[in-house]
Symmetry: C2
Subunit: 169 residues, 2 copies
DNA sequence: TATTGTTATACTCTATAACTATA
DNA sequence: TATAGTTATAGAGTATAACAATA
C-alpha cells in the first residue's frame, strides 16, 4: 500500500499514483460512499448486503448464508434483526416444514431502492468529473478487467448482484 | 445498483457493465482482497487500518480517533485489543501526563508489511490481465478521477495513507 | 473548567457448538 | 441419520455516557 518505489508501470503525468495505490484508494472511496449512504438510513453494510441480495430472490436461510458467505447462525440473527425492523419477512416454506423463505417487505424494498439510488448518484457524480470520452474509456477498461478476472476464476460476472461484496469467511 | 436501463453512457463493446456497476464491482473485489489477506493473518479490516495508519505515525489516542474516524472510546478498545496481541504499544507521553502515544511493535510492523505485500501482489496480478497500454491508461484515468475528486473536496490526496479507508462517522 | 483517556453499558455482527423439529 | 433453522455463548467492533487524572 505504501512504498514509493516504482518497479512496474511508470505512467505518464507526474504526481500520478501507482496503479495499485490508485485502485485501492478508489475502492475505499466507493466502498465508503455506499457505507455512508446506507448509514443515512441507519443500516449497516451487512444489512444493505442482505437487502440487496433479496431484491431479486426469496432464498431460504441456508441459501442466504451461501449467498452472503456467512454461517447459517449468523444469517439467522441477521434476518432476525432485519425482521424486527420490518425490512424482511420470514415465510414458512410450503414444501419443507423445516425451511423458511426470506423476503423483502415493502419497507425493505423501499429502503434498498433509496440507498441504491443515492449511491448510484454519488458514483455518477464522481464519474462526471471526467470528460465523456475518458469516462467511456474507464468504463470499458474496468469492464474488461472484471471480465478477465471473472473468466480466470470461473465466475458468472453478469449474474452477480451488485450490492453484494464478494466476501468469504 | 441493479436496473438494466441505460440512461447515460452506452459504451462500446456489448455485454459491458454500466459504469456505476463496474466501479462498484471492482471496489468490492479489491476491498474483499484486502480483507481476505488480512484474515490470513487473523486481523480484521479495522485492525489492518489501525496498523496501516501507524506505519508512519505515532499518534495519541485522540489523534488516532480522528485518523480512523472513530470515537475515542472505540479507539481505546481497538488499541487495547491490538496491544493484547502484541501488535502495538502504548507509550506514555512525556509532555502531557494524560496522553499516550500509540506505536507499532516489530510484530505489528512485520504483520502489516506482509498483508500489504500480498495485497499489492493481488492487485498487481489483477492488473496484469490487461495489456500494458491498457494498464497505463487505466492508471492514468483512475489517478485523474481521484485527483479531481480530491480537489473538489479539498482533500490532500497524496498525504492519505493507503490502507486507510476514507471513512467518517 | 476543559481535555485525555478509560470504563460501563448496550447493540450489531460473527463464529462454534449444541439443540429442536423435520425429512 | 441427515438437514434446516434457532439458541447459547463468546468475542470484536461500535457508540454514548459517566468517570478519573491532569492541564
Amino acid at each position: 500500500m505504501r512504498s514509493r518505489t516504482r518497479e512496474k508501470s511508470e505512467p505518464g503525468t507526474r504526481g500520478e499514483l501507482r496503479a495499485v495505490d490508485g485502485l485501492a484508494q478508489l475502492s475505499f472511496l466507493i466502498h465508503g460512499t455506499l457505507e455512508r449512504r446506507a448509514a443515512e438510513h441507519d443500516v449497516s453494510m451487512t444489512q444493505t448486503r442482505l437487502l440487496g441480495v433479496l431484491r431479486d430472490r426469496t432464498p431460504t436461510i441456508n441459501e442466504l448464508a451461501k449467498l452472503l458467505a456467512l454461517d447459517k447462525s449468523s444469517t439467522s440473527g441477521l434476518v432476525a434483526r432485519a425482521e424486527r425492523r420490518g425490512l424482511v419477512a420470514r415465510i414458512p416454506s410450503t414444501t419443507d416444514r423445516r425451511s423458511v423463505e426470506v423476503a423483502l417487505t415493502d419497507a425493505g424494498r423501499s429502503l434498498v431502492a433509496q440507498v441504491s439510488a443515492s449511491f448510484e448518484a454519488d458514483v455518477s457524480k464522481l464519474l462526471d468529473r471526467l470528460r465523456r470520452s475518458d469516462r467511456d474509456a474507464l468504463t470499458s477498461l474496468v469492464s474488461r478487467l472484471l471480465a478477465a478476472h471473472a473468466t480466470a476464476h470461473g465466475v458468472d460476472l453478469f449474474a452477480t448482484t451488485d450490492t453484494q461484496a464478494p466476501q468469504r469467511r
